[in-house]
């Protein structure tokens, strides 16, 4: 019985951070998807070589350096030259900038998978290039990218646990501070795992519903 009441006490403590976890996940997801979409459009349809090289460089830098290091640069590094971000702002910005590179690739793969005839046909019947991209190609590319975007969203939810390292008050942060005061280490971290799982499962389910509804039509 005492075990159960401790568990509930721990869960209550952790739930204090759940709000920040959810907000950081959602806002950085929004930031990554918008950034990634714009980058993908420019990279896929833009004509400027220099811009392509710049986007490629950005993606490589984001993808080959750990999130933890990016967060430290944004939070501790920038503060040292007088550009102070709050821990939550640094977390959202960091995860969003990294996610922009990840989703850029996912969107590009979506565009690349479309048959050439789609664009040619749209142009032939009189759509402007702009309309072709936005009205004909984008909706189809989105459908193709949806499953991998879903995987990315789950990954992002888990990755928010890293931002406890820059003291953003989310689930893992509360867990770590509880551990130092209560020594119920095993129980606390097990509860943490269960709580993340409880957040991830509905997200996975929502993605599955979206996929069934809007996903690529099965042949």
């Amino acid at each position: 019985m005492t075990e159960l009441s401790t568990f509930i006490l721990i869960l209550e403590g952790l739930l204090a951070g759940a709000g920040v976890t959810v907000v950081v996940t959602l806002v950085s997801l929004l930031l990554s998807v918008s950034l990634g979409f714009v980058l993908a459009l420019v990279r896929q349809f833009g004509k400027r070589r220099a811009l392509h090289a710049l986007i490629d460089l950005y993606c490589e830098i984001m993808r080959n350096i750990p999130a933890l290091t990016h967060l430290f640069i944004l939070y501790f590094g920038l503060a040292s030259i007088g550009f102070r971000l709050s821990s939550i702002a640094a977390a959202i910005l960091g995860l969003g900038l990294i996610g922009g590179a990840v989703t850029c690739d996912l969107f590009r793969a979506g565009f690349a998978a479309l048959p050439k005839g789609q664009a040619e046909a749209a142009l032939a019947v009189g759509f402007t290039p702009f309309q072709t991209i936005l009205d004909i190609l984008t909706p189809q590319a989105m459908r193709i990218a949806l499953p991998s975007l879903g995987n990315y969203a789950v990954q992002l939810l888990k990755d928010t646990s890293i931002v406890s390292a820059i003291a953003a008050p989310e689930i893992m942060f509360y867990a770590r501070s509880m551990v130092t005061s209560s020594f119920q280490t095993t129980l606390i971290y097990t509860t943490v795992a269960l709580l993340y799982l409880a957040l991830a499962l509905p997200l996975m389910q929502a993605i599955r519903i979206l996929e069934n509804r809007y996903g690529r039509l099965k042949a």
Binding site: I65, L68, F72, T186, A200
Partner: protein
């Protein structure tokens, strides 16, 4: 700009050996963990395709659980949590195990996709010409699976390498932790964390390029 560059020039002699040693530790940690996750992953993938239903279910549950739980939670559970249950690891072992357990699920999914991509006729033909089931798996099916999976496996290795930075939070003295220690010592966090990022980039980038090289043209 000059003020940003100057500390590198002044401290190169002291920073380089520290960073190089830490890069070695990061590489060692990543390679050990990846090797272990390949073994776990292959076992899981094989168990996923057996006749025993409960084994399949167990593996599916494991993969789903690991997909939903952050690596950091697994890491803390192994390092800080298990001593409470009487099992103690040193930090490096705990980091290798946590990374391997987490990435084994991904590796298993890759192998499974690879296994499903091999037509059943390959195995049937091997059996028909007299290979034993074990031989037909190791000599006929597995090499083809490896060829399909190699590019995504390298991508997975790069993710593992990046996630090995989390080991710094359980006091493994790899790149990220060395960076933190240096940042407090020299009080130049921007320059030092950028240098740490560059070190990771130098290890990871060749693998990223290799994975693009090896990917089939359609996936590029």
């Amino acid at each position: 700009m000059n003020r940003f560059i100057q500390p590198y020039v002044d401290n190169a002699g002291e920073w380089l050996p520290l960073l190089l040693e830490a890069m070695g530790k990061t590489a060692l940690l990543s390679i050990c963990a990846f090797a272990l996750s390949l073994v776990f992953g292959l076992l899981l993938a094989v168990c996923r395709n057996t006749r025993w239903r409960w084994l399949e279910r167990g593996v599916a549950l494991y993969v789903a659980t690991v997909r939903g739980v952050p690596l950091l939670a697994i890491l803390f559970l192994l390092y800080f949590g298990l001593p409470g249950a009487g099992v103690t690891f040193d930090a490096f072992t705990a980091a290798v195990l946590a990374l391997a357990l987490a990435f084994a699920a991904q590796v298993a999914e890759l192998f499974r996709a690879g296994l499903m991509a091999i037509p059943a006729g390959q195995r049937e033909a091997a059996l028909a010409v007299g290979f034993t089931p074990y031989q037909s798996f190791t000599l006929i099916v597995l090499p083809q699976v490896v060829r399909i999976s190699i590019a995504p496996l390298i991508v997975t290795f790069v993710s593992l390498l990046k996630d090995s930075s989390l080991a710094s939070l359980i006091t493994v003295d790899e790149l990220a932790l060395t960076g933190r220690a240096m940042a407090t010592e020299y009080f130049l966090p921007l320059q030092i964390y950028v240098a740490v990022g560059l070190c990771y980039f130098l290890i990871a980038w060749p693998f990223s390029l290799l994975s693009k090289r090896l990917a089939p043209p359609a996936a590029r």
